[in-house]
Symmetry: C2
Subunit: 327 residues, 2 copies
């Protein structure tokens, strides 16, 4: 399939950049040292490529992601790195299922849903889920008393992964992980799961890293001087050209906008509307031209699209369904 015949907006994955990212991460964090986060791509076909690269354990953010991964035969070791109050759909999965818990209620929910294994989720500084580090041991005891196997701890330094200054990232990761290590000593088990694309080579305390964005990348992580290439883009068609600006058919419903505007090579992006991006091209643009819009945040971008197109040398080599959307 030629790119020129593709309906726009269309999510594109640059095959060379994607494979570079797989290789670069696999060399740094081989096998089970990486537990790729599927929330970044929501695509079992892409996850299968990560598994083929040696990473057989996966991180999920939703029950739907867990279900889809199990159904796709990628359920060797699935971690739902999120709290759930209704775990009933998890107990029936043909997969090894581990769930994050951070309270008596989520421990009860895991046990009631037929889940066998949990990680104690520890707040290491990001104001989100996770128990106080000093509570982790008590929660582990409670989980074991309910018949659950406690595999260890989890603690995401999400407030650190995006900091541009590497020395600061290193310092803060160390402070976060000292909390996780202390909690781990109280909890027991083999697993200390943490980290993201921005700390994948900094976080040496965790036994496994939950990076997801590395494989597709976005402009936010692009500012961090990581060895991963921008693989994701949205193909758009220029639909209108005026004297001082042009418009392409890639809007709010094709882009995650929480990290701000997307970028377009050779143009200044002015603003984005539901189905439009308005930009000032540095050179000449003609109605009908195809352009590549690079999103600021990969995860909520992918979640808008039904499929992604693997592109090599200007041709669509494969079409992957984004099959883990919804909840």
């Amino acid at each position: 399939m030629d790119l020129a015949t593709l309906q726009t907006p269309a999510l594109l994955v640059d095959a060379d950049a994607f494979e570079h990212n797989l290789r670069a991460m696999g060399e740094s964090l081989p096998g089970s040292r990486l537990r790729p986060h599927v929330k970044a791509h929501k695509c079992t076909a892409l996850a299968a490529r990560q598994a083929a690269a040696g990473h057989n354990g996966f991180t999920c953010a939703t029950v739907r992601e867990m279900e889809g991964m199990a159904k796709a035969g990628l359920g060797d070791d699935l971690l739902l790195a999120n709290e759930v109050l209704d775990a009933r759909r998890l107990g029936d999965l043909e997969a090894r299922v581990t769930v994050a818990v951070d309270s008596p209620a989520t421990i009860e929910a895991a046990a009631a849903g037929g889940v066998n294994e949990v990680l104690i989720d520890v707040n290491v500084g990001l104001p989100r889920c996770g128990c106080a580090p000093s509570d982790a041991g008590r929660l582990a005891d409670l989980a074991r008393s309910k018949g659950l196997t406690v595999r260890g701890v989890m603690g995401y330094e999400g407030h650190v992964v995006g900091l541009p200054n590497r020395a600061l990232r290193e310092q803060l990761t160390k402070e976060c992980m000292e909390k996780l290590v202390a909690a781990h000593a109280d909890v027991g088990g083999e697993v200390a799961s943490a980290g993201g694309t921005g700390t994948y080579d900094i976080n040496t305390w965790a036994t496994e890293i939950q990076a997801g964005s590395y494989v597709l990348m976005d402009t936010a992580y692009g500012h961090l001087d990581l060895p991963f290439r921008q693989a994701l883009g949205v193909l758009a068609t220029v639909i209108s050209v005026s004297a001082d600006h042009s418009v392409a058919d890639c809007g709010l419903k094709a882009l995650g906008m929480d990290h701000g505007n997307p970028t377009i090579d050779g143009a200044d992006v002015w603003f984005v509307a539901d189905e439009h991006v308005t930009f000032a091209p540095h050179g000449r643009v003609t109605v009908g031209d195809r352009i590549r819009v690079v999103p600021a945040h990969v995860d909520p971008t992918v979640a808008y699209h039904e499929r992604m197109h693997l592109v090599r040398d200007g041709r669509v080599e494969d079409v992957w369904e984004v099959d883990l959307r919804g909840w």
Copy 2:
């Protein structure tokens, strides 16, 4: 179905508020004075309620929306208020199809795709699509020379509809519409299509108003003192409670974020992550509580969800598929 058993996050429509909005708009702009924009809800079941309220012509932003509306039997008079370079899927629809054009290339595309009717899209001040007002007559002549029927003009004052100051909205709408009226005189035809929820009762120059958000509403339009009630919310479950903050399972992939954070009654929203909203509740919150998260922007919120739930008196009265997503 009880709200308590609903999987979260779930898109909710308050039936009373929704029906109030339908009534209030129908009284102000009855019948064909309103051409509801389906991009705000992407739901043919909801559009059928708008049609039942007397509005039989609809505005669409994508080819997929046009297809879905035609297939649902709502194709009496469908306007694609957007430029397309590939109109082939439009020519085959069992519907009255009108397409916006603003250049020779989009006129050629409409004719080549088998579309019969067009509006000349005029730039009235919003830097997006639309020809210069002085070019509208020339483009209308070109369209007619290609065998197309030119029904009139379209010109969206999108930079005005969200301004909180009503006097300023009135003044700028007048300036925009004077451009559209002048272009209309050059173009001919009966239609002058324009306006949005923020100018629905200000824009008296247009023959029809393209408002969409009014029926569900969001917090951005909520600041404008319009007679429409907040009907849309996302039901979320509190999954984690800490000393200074709580977390619910409604994140970036359940909310349009381009207008900023959502709001939660009785709480300060701190930030939103992929599947989480972190907030500081003013009162006591318990793990497992259900809360309502109100999005800042309705359109990109709806586009993330597979279905919406019509709720009355705490029960789900109907489930509507969001069936116009994608492109």
